[in-house]
């Protein structure tokens, strides 16, 4: 494109027959024809760049949006929701005048190509989404999924991803308080690197991405624009990538956390002085996205002079400038008389800031290069009126067979000795083992407000020092469950995250999600996606927790082999006083252990079936969201009224996994008795949902039992915190030392 004369709007109108590389830019033929129809002429090269990148799957949600609508249509009534789906991130009222914004996004493909930078820039992107809402970022979480733990490529990808998340997040001063690390061969070649962030602001500080007020200036600030990730958004993220394809410019974006830290501080200072009318971060699709979204959300049009964009590489063409995904950049709309002060603040923080355009009273987005007009579009057609696909979907032919392969029929341990052996295998398996080797590479303490961090059930941050008001967040997903039944699997992810928040004593308020799936062009994958979205939307409605935003990542597959459908759900909760939080660790010997909820024979998709039998089949555990809600209410009330000293949700690995974790974290063992009506195996390994274990001080036992009885929640006394072994009466006993060696040795042995 750079060799031909400048492709101006005028030139495009005069040369209708010029062939443009729309296919190489990822557009389909009918999409290109639609662009021509919208413009009434062929697009210029710059316009084509904008449309192609904004109409990519990654930016336009063209395959998913017909399903995602359910999150709005089925949204429960919620007083807490201040800003819903469609903005950079949702905003929730948490009381005392505070608002919290949070979101989870994927950076899957880039993290496979270049693990360190892919993961680092994933953190950078989600954090800029949070700043763009007007909030100070206060914490990050990272749900991660990799191929088999012992696969050589996992040893390449995982350490790079972890170092990238740490290298970037630690340098920004954001505590990393939660997330997951899951291994499964299905993620080989398609690791899932999801990143979530939380920000806090006062209600009046909420900012939106819109450009209003003719004459207001558009200011680009942050890093200079280089050739990073050109085509990244449209090619890397929207089609299964092909190693062999040569690339003119590097597709890998490189992050500079120091620059981002300055961007945070100078943006917050500008917000504090009320200098900003509208704001947008530059992420995927760079300036194309920021200018078209700001303009289309505002009341007027916008005129931009591309020559004024500060460049790192002076050879970039205008198309490349529009598509560049250089990191650590933001775009603000500022009233003319406040521009000087805005630039002064940027200068204070050594951040480059340049006026690149202004809001007009028209309705067009016009972009100029060397004095000539190279873009003249209705910004809404770029940002919001991309294609919508009703992709065909169908329940896969193998689904029945998979569900018929019942895990409950797998051979079970027949003696105490065999049980003991399987417990040790389970807690040492990569998915159930301690992830401390990973999480200790993240800063948990910075900002001085971390109340709980991984391996707690949810991360918790104090947001008001005086009152003790805090927020909690948990992210969960289980691709094995979702593979067996995507509708139920998505609800189980929601239920687990909800339960994890409640277990720490916080009240669940709202949901964000990151939906990771294979190719939408495969009807079986599309069915998984449709079912998962339906399940999540129905579940959120029933639990009263609206979806505030999120992210869809498709094409996570190699050839015909898609990843397990993996909806990752983040639940945000609020706690009035963080002093009342409930930790996982056993606190005091002699406290009574209670199992809350019902235990059934449910082994489909379980950790036990994976670790012992390398099996995936049957049905996932049943979901009862009313029960989840009741369990949550009990856990929150028990925390508030000081009836429990520790609590742990039961999920993958079942009861024994939870007991072992609580015991190791507290350095105190437990004596367990198999309750009447259950066999030891089911008691220890079943993954029935809607359950938790709690440690109740003896002085609180009557009160706690009365509360559970009155509310109709089954509460079964199963043992006592005691000694330095985990003992199941009549079956086996394991020393904490042996359990610790098994649980904590696995990951370092594989990766260190």
């Amino acid at each position: 494109m750079s060799k031909t004369p400048l492709d101006t709007v005028e030139h495009a109108a005069a040369t209708p027959d010029v062939e443009l590389p729309w296919a190489e830019l990822g557009l389909k033929k009918d999409e290109y024809e639609r662009v021509v129809e919208i413009l009434g002429r062929r697009p210029t090269g710059a316009e084509l760049a904008m449309y192609s990148v904004m109409w990519s799957e990654h930016c336009s949600y063209k395959s998913s949006k017909v399903h995602l609508r359910q999150f709005g249509e089925k949204a429960p009534e919620s007083d807490a929701l201040l800003v819903g789906i469609g903005e950079n991130a949702g905003v929730v009222d948490v009381g005392q005048g505070y608002a919290v914004t949070f979101k989870v996004e994927s950076h899957n493909h880039p993290s496979y190509v270049e693990p360190y930078q892919g993961a680092a820039t994933g953190v950078g992107g989600i954090v800029r989404d949070i700043i763009a809402m007007g909030a100070r970022p206060v914490a990050v979480v990272d749900p991660l999924r990799f191929g088999a733990a012992d696969h050589p490529d996992t040893k390449r990808v995982l350490p790079g991803v972890v170092a990238g998340i740490g290298g970037y997040g630690n340098c920004l001063g954001l505590p990393n308080i939660g997330g997951e690390v899951v291994f499964d061969a299905c993620y080989q070649g398609n690791p899932l690197v999801n990143a979530g962030a939380i920000g806090v602001m006062r209600h009046e500080d909420i900012h939106l991405a819109k450009a209003s007020g003719a004459g207001n200036k558009v200011i680009l600030y942050g890093a200079r624009t280089g050739g990073d990730g050109i085509g990244g958004a449209s090619i890397l993220a929207s089609e299964t990538f092909d190693d062999a394809k040569p690339s003119k410019r590097p597709a890998v974006q490189v992050g500079d956390p120091f620059q981002e830290k300055l961007l945070i501080e100078c943006t917050l200072e500008a917000f504090a002085e009320k200098l900003v009318v509208g704001i947008q971060d530059l992420g995927a699709a760079g300036l194309s996205c920021a200018t078209s979204e700001l303009a289309s959300n505002g009341s007027g049009g916008m005129r931009v002079t591309l020559d004024d964009v500060p460049l790192r590489d002076s050879t970039l063409s205008p198309e490349e400038i529009l598509m560049s995904e250089s990191q650590e950049r933001m775009c603000a709309v500022v009233e003319p008389d406040k521009v000087d002060r805005f630039l002064e603040i940027c200068d204070k923080w050594d951040v480059i800031a340049t006026v690149i355009g202004e809001v007009t009273d028209g309705d067009r987005l016009e972009i100029f290069w060397h004095g000539e007009k190279i873009v003249d579009v209705d910004p809404r057609t770029v940002a919001h009126e991309g294609p919508t696909y009703e992709r065909p979907y169908a329940r896969p032919s193998w689904q029945d067979e998979l569900q018929a392969d019942d895990a409950n029929k797998l051979p079970r341990p027949e003696s105490g000795e065999e049980l003991k052996d399987q417990v040790l295998k389970l807690v040492a398996s990569p998915n159930q083992a301690s992830k401390q080797w990973i999480t200790q590479q993240y800063d948990h303490f910075v900002q001085g407000n971390t109340v709980l961090a991984q391996p707690e059930d949810s991360g918790m941050i104090r947001i008001d020092e005086a009152s003790g008001l805090g927020v909690a967040i948990a992210t969960d997903g289980n691709g094995r469950y979702a593979k067996l039944d995507p509708y139920t699997g998505a609800q189980l992810a929601l239920a687990e995250a909800y339960r994890n928040v409640a277990t720490t004593g916080a009240k669940p308020l709202a949901v964000s999600d990151c939906l990771n799936f294979g190719s939408p062009e495969d009807p079986a994958v599309m069915w998984q996606f449709a079912e998962a979205v339906r399940g999540l939307a129905d579940g959120c409605k029933q639990l009263g927790t609206p979806v505030t935003g999120g992210n869809v990542s498709l094409y996570n597959q190699t050839g015909e082999a898609a990843i397990h459908p993996t909806p990752v759900v983040a639940v945000l909760g609020v706690i009035d006083d963080v002093a009342r939080r409930t930790p996982v660790a056993f606190q005091e010997e002699g406290q009574l252990l209670y199992l809350l909820g019902d235990t059934r024979e449910e082994f489909g998709g379980s950790a036990w079936s994976q670790v012992i039998h390398d099996h995936l089949g049957g049905l996932p555990p049943k979901v009862d969201l009313e029960r989840e809600r009741l369990l949550g209410e009990i856990l929150i009330a028990a925390s508030r009224d000081g009836m429990i000293d520790s609590a742990h949700d039961l999920s993958d690995g079942g009861l024994i996994q939870a007991v072992v974790e609580s015991a190791l974290l507290g350095g105190k063992g437990a004596r367990l008795v198999v309750p009447d009506g259950l066999d030891a195996f089911t008691f220890l390994f079943s993954e029935s949902a809607g359950r938790a274990i709690v440690a109740v001080p003896r002085s609180e036992e009557v009160r706690f039992n009365d509360m559970c009885g009155a509310r109709g929640l089954p509460a079964t006394r199963i043992g006592v915190v005691d000694g330095d072994t985990v003992e199941v009466q009549g079956e086996f006993s394991l020393s904490l030392a042996d359990l610790r060696e098994a649980h904590e040795g696995t990951i370092p042995a594989l990766l260190a």
């Binding site: 170092a163 740490g166 290298g167 630690n170 340098c171 920004l172 001063g173 500079d256 956390p257 120091f258 620059q259 830290k261 300055l262 923080w349 050594d350 999480t439 200790q440 590479q441 993240y442 800063d443 948990h444 303490f445 910075v446 900002q447 001085g448 407000n449 971390t450 109340v451 104090r462 020092e465 003790g468 963080v578 002093a579 260190a752």
Partner: protein, 226 residues
């Protein structure tokens, strides 16, 4: 009348507000100082806090050491102004040659964040009088470049003069020579350490211990009684 303790913010400082909070919790008045200002606003002591000043892109602390505020800090520290360097602050103090030796990347090449056990070796500095020599404490540690190195002569001198202020116990988390976690200058007014006492001042937050508070009460007592 309480003491005014300055906390310098460099571009890339991360624990500045946390350090200000710790000073407040101890009962002193925190004063924000800016790297571009030579003026120390007549504070009674200065804390250089943790973070990645200027991205630590040259060496940890190497660029911050040349900022305007450091000119004044260096002059006044030599004249007796109490200065505490935490993590990146410690790195800046060694780069500024207010403390001997230097800081390098952790020997295992990873960032490490852990609740670290330490022994207080010197309870006579301006920042450690509220501890007892030999006391064992837990303070969060979080860094990439925490490996303290110095030549043999310097190490011997530090040991002989009792200037190793803190030593790692149980685990040496970064390969520091002689398990050194923190040191003091000869006069005892300048102290640097890698672990973060400002993250151990409230029982609810972080590791739930308050073993770091005596840093701030020590200096407060010294300044108020002076």
């Amino acid at each position: 009348m309480t003491a005014r303790i300055g906390v310098v913010t460099f571009p890339g400082s991360l624990d500045d507000r946390d350090t200000q909070r710790a000073i407040r919790v101890a009962g002193a008045e925190p004063v924000a100082l800016w790297h571009k200002d030579k003026d120390l606003k007549q504070v009674d002591a200065v804390v250089l806090c943790g973070g990645f000043s200027y991205g630590d892109y040259l060496r940890a602390g190497a660029i911050a050491r040349f900022s305007p505020v450091m000119d004044t800090v260096i002059d006044q520290a030599k004249a007796g102004l109490p200065v505490l360097g935490i993590c990146n602050g410690f790195q800046i103090l060694t780069e500024a040659h207010l403390l001997p030796g230097g800081m390098l990347g952790n020997d295992h090449l990873h960032f490490i964040c852990r609740d670290q056990k330490l022994r207080v070796e010197n309870a006579d500095t301006a920042w450690t009088t509220d501890y007892e020599a030999g006391q064992e404490i837990h303070i969060p540690l979080k860094n990439m470049d925490g490996r303290y190195v110095a030549d043999r002569y310097t190490l011997d001198k530090l040991e002989a003069e009792g200037r190793v202020a803190f030593r790692y116990l149980d685990v040496n988390p970064n390969g520091s020579l002689n398990d050194i976690a923190g040191i003091t200058n000869e006069a005892g007014n300048v102290v640097g350490l890698m672990p973060h006492p400002e993250h151990a001042v409230e029982s609810l937050i972080g590791t739930g211990r308050t073993d770091g508070l005596p840093f701030f009460t020590s200096i407060l007592k010294k300044l108020v009684n002076a």
